[in-house]
Amino acid sequence: MNVLEMKDISKDYFGNRVLKNVNLSVKPGEIHALLGENGAGKSTLMNILFGMSVIQTTGGFEGEVSINGQPTNIVSPHQAMDEGIGMVHQEFMLIPGFTISENVKLNRELTKHNLVSAVTRNPRMETIDIARNAKDARAALDKLDIGIDEYTRVSGLPVGYMQFVEIAREIDKTGLKVLVFDEPTAVLTESEALNLMDAMKKLANEGIGILFITHRLDEVIYCADRVTILRDGEWVATKETDDTNVVELAELMVGRKVEILPKDKKVAEDADIIMSISDLHVNMPGETVKGVDLEIRKGEILGIGGLAGQGKIGIANGIMGLYPTTGSITYKGKTLKLNDTKSTLDSGIAFVSEDRRGIGLLLDSSIEDNIAITSMQVKGQFLKKAGPFTLRDKEAIREHANQMIEEFDIRCLGPNQFSKRLSGGNQQKVCLARAVTLAPDLLLVSEPTRGIDIGAKKLVLDNLIKLNEEGMTIIMTSSELAELRSISDRIVIVNEGKVEGILHPEDSDADFGLMMAGTYNKVRGGAK
């Protein structure tokens, strides 16, 4: 009998279907891997399993969840815990200032009576029994073969150990039936990841069902018994790991139709290098870049792809000096000053940020001001002198904004509408218009189509191609592989903060999948 069974699960957010008839089952003592790209529906599935409020407040879900064959309706994380479902979070739910023991027993502390609690009968007045809590924590740590002192404070621990503290907390809860690991190895070194997977096997041997969410294919093969693959919210396959291999999994994970947009010109393989990056490190939280070497050819569209959190977003942000950066960048033969956004802009590089609403736009300013502001700052355009004062040249700004609104087809009430009121797609066009106003030779675009509708998507991509044909070099970072493949000349795949490889749009699905999972060089022997 399956300890966990999720049957025909469907879910839509405001008419947007994110899960379609997904099936998933976990047997006791089994390690079941759940595989999928970002946006494949893994998180939504887990939110349903844990009864997160985001599911309840958006109209629940369709389908059936059973624990030990018993159909259950989980409506809160607390209830999920009571049902014996535990989760080891990707971002640690640990209190750094507390000891390991305090974290393991957080809000489940063992207490003993004292005078006040005996009189008031208030459990909150009972004294914490430090020794017994520590003993429990010790027992949980011993089960995992971890020899750390349970009185050690979490803040001083290496990341690998924090993970084990999280696991210790889950197995300390009585009646644990299913333990979900949400991309636990993403932040670990290889040896730490091996330790973790061994611990998972040990737990599975004790009869706990383990759901292992990951995108590292070799880890699936190494430790999982079965694997379920999701793609675009749909169930693709469930396989015994003995019957499959890394290449097949990669193909199943990525495979979809790719439409390559027609481009008039091809960039020669030996075109001039406009920018070369070497040993670039960017400390962008969650998107750390750990030593990237890259050469960008003049006139090409270079796509940067990879899974979320691997560092692809960090590259453009590092070039722009938005996060602490080390390494060296040569642009048009000159060394680019790092960590200095102004000088990067001055040298003719423009950036469309992935964080449209956060740093991309001045939300409470008009469209025309948004379009003109960087040029006013960097190039001194749209300004006029009035005695000792420098004033903005309203007429010039208005004229330019109107021209841009027409050119990019920005649907708005007029150039003085607040950018906050625009739809996501139109906001993106404003961002693009501002970048283009700078007349850059190199344009960095991050996630240009995130959160915008299909029509606007097409327009944005068409605009990028048009700008490219006019001679602009473009580096486009995107989570959507299909879109990278549709317009790029070359596609760099970033994994674990480094360049895993460079592919052409026509290369096979399996190659892309393997590279994104970081197993390409192992499987193909670094052929390229």
Partner: protein
């Protein structure tokens, strides 16, 4: 055990070290007879320690330094004025004042807690502004409504026109009328004897803690032997002062200083109470919420309720503390007594080495001692140095605000430094060394 580094110790305790230096310098410059100095410190310590202890729980619960204790003090003053109006004297009057202040301060604390839950992240500035707003309400009630809409029986309490409470309210003569000294007069001991008793009790506490440390961690915590030895030595020194004539005459005059034993006994009890509370499940919840509201919430702790309970505890303790302060002072400054206690209590706690998110009972005691010694000595030192006591008066204000400013700036600086070091490590967090001395950060 934590590796001891002098530089780190210095940076971590910079505020306390600066104030220790200033205090010692002040004492040396002022040249006050030691028994007069000690006499004053004994009284100031008795007055202010309760209020500083009231600040600890909100700090642990992540609500910062609670300037809202001013509101608790208002509850205390309302009760004291009522008791004075009723003409209740002595211990009965004091007990009634405490009894009346408790429900008022519970309600006010609940309201402050509610407000602070709505202004998350801005607790300190909110409580500060709230105390200023409360002062406005206080003025309205006691200056404009008392005697007009709220009847007052004792006409001497009123301003001659018949409306509003007088600027100063006399709380008795210390001999039985009013509540003045009703607690202090219960039992007094000369300095050396009293100190022998207190240090003896302290030694006992450390001894018990040392013996019990084996039960908790499996081995005896040898670091506890240091305070144990120090307190035992102190007991011996004080006992010799009490029973022999070994010390010079100027020091022996310390015996002229009377220690109010009940008041000090209560201070110790409240200190123990706070420590006990921290070790209950509720105390653990305070700390969990203080460390991370989101993680506490995910673990099933009712964050909002816990924060409100912290606020109520603090406000009630502040009200009681303020009553003890007035009992010892003997005079109520109707429109001023409560205003300054927020500032001085916060400053004292910070001087003791506490920060916005960390405070202990020991820090409260040390802080009160240092801050009020400096407070007392400053005018005398000013007189010696500049031939004008008034300068020392100014210096008091610089000390109070300076303590708060300095420790907040240093706290922010440390945080920024920490964040900077973290950000500039090229590989980010995941580059934590694979092998690490795991005993390095053991508590």
């Amino acid at each position: 055990m934590r590796n001891f580094s002098l530089k780190r110790f210095f940076i971590d305790n910079i505020v306390t070290i600066i104030f220790l230096t200033l205090t010692i310098a002040g004492i040396l410059i002022a040249q006050q007879p030691i028994h007069i100095l000690v006499n004053d410190i004994v009284r100031r310590f008795a007055r202010n320690t309760f209020l500083v202890l009231a600040l600890i729980i909100p700090v642990l619960a992540g609500m910062g330094l609670n300037f809202g204790i001013v509101v608790g003090a208002m509850a205390a003053q309302a009760a004291v004025i009522f008791v004075a109006d009723m003409g209740w004297n002595g211990l009965f009057g004091l007990s009634m004042a405490i009894l009346i202040s408790i429900p008022i301060s519970i309600i006010l604390g609940w309201m402050i807690g509610k407000l602070l839950n709505k202004t998350r992240g801005l607790e300190m500035i909110t409580s500060l502004l709230l105390s200023l707003f409360a002062q406005g309400v206080w003025l309205l009630i006691y200056l404009a409504l008392m005697g007009r809409f709220i009847p007052i029986r004792t006409k001497e309490l009123l301003i001659p026109g018949g409306i509003g409470i007088r600027n100063t309210v006399n709380l008795g003569d210390g001999m039985g009328t009013g509540i003045k000294y009703s607690l202090a007069n219960l039992s007094q001991m000369p300095f050396f004897l009293a100190m022998t008793v207190f240090l003896g009790i302290l030694s006992l506490i450390y001894l018990v803690r040392y013996l019990r440390s084996k039960q908790i961690k499996g081995q005896r915590d040898k670091w506890l032997l240091i305070p144990l030895a120090v307190s035992l030595l102190g007991t011996l020194i004080m006992f010799l002062g009490h029973s022999t004539m070994l010390y010079p005459a100027s020091i022996l005059r310390l015996n002229e200083v009377d220690i109010p034993m009940v008041t000090y006994g209560l201070i110790i009890l409240v200190g123990l109470f706070v420590n006990w509370l921290i070790n209950t499940k509720l105390g653990q919840d305070f700390r969990s919420v203080g460390q991370s509201q989101s993680i506490a919430a995910v673990s099933g702790i009712n964050v909002d309720r816990t924060r409100i309970i912290a606020m109520i505890t603090s406000t009630v303790m502040a009200a009681m503390g303020h009553i003890f302060l007035l009992e010892n002072l003997g005079v109520l400054n109707t429109y001023g007594s409560h205003v300054s206690i927020g500032l001085y209590s916060v400053a004292a706690l910070l001087v003791g080495g506490a920060t916005v998110n960390r405070a202990t009972v020991g820090q409260a005691f040390l802080g009160v001692l240092l801050f009020h010694t400096l407070f007392y000595i400053a005018p005398f030192a000013g007189k010696v140095l500049l031939n004008d006591a008034q300068n020392g008066e100014y210096f008091r204000n610089i000390v109070a605000y300076g303590a708060i400013g300095l420790s907040l700036v240093l706290y922010a600086w440390k945080q920024a430094n920490h964040a900077h070091n973290k950000a500039m490590r090229p590989e980010g967090d995941d580059a934590a060394p694979a092998t690490i001395d795991l005993s390095a950060d053991t508590e």
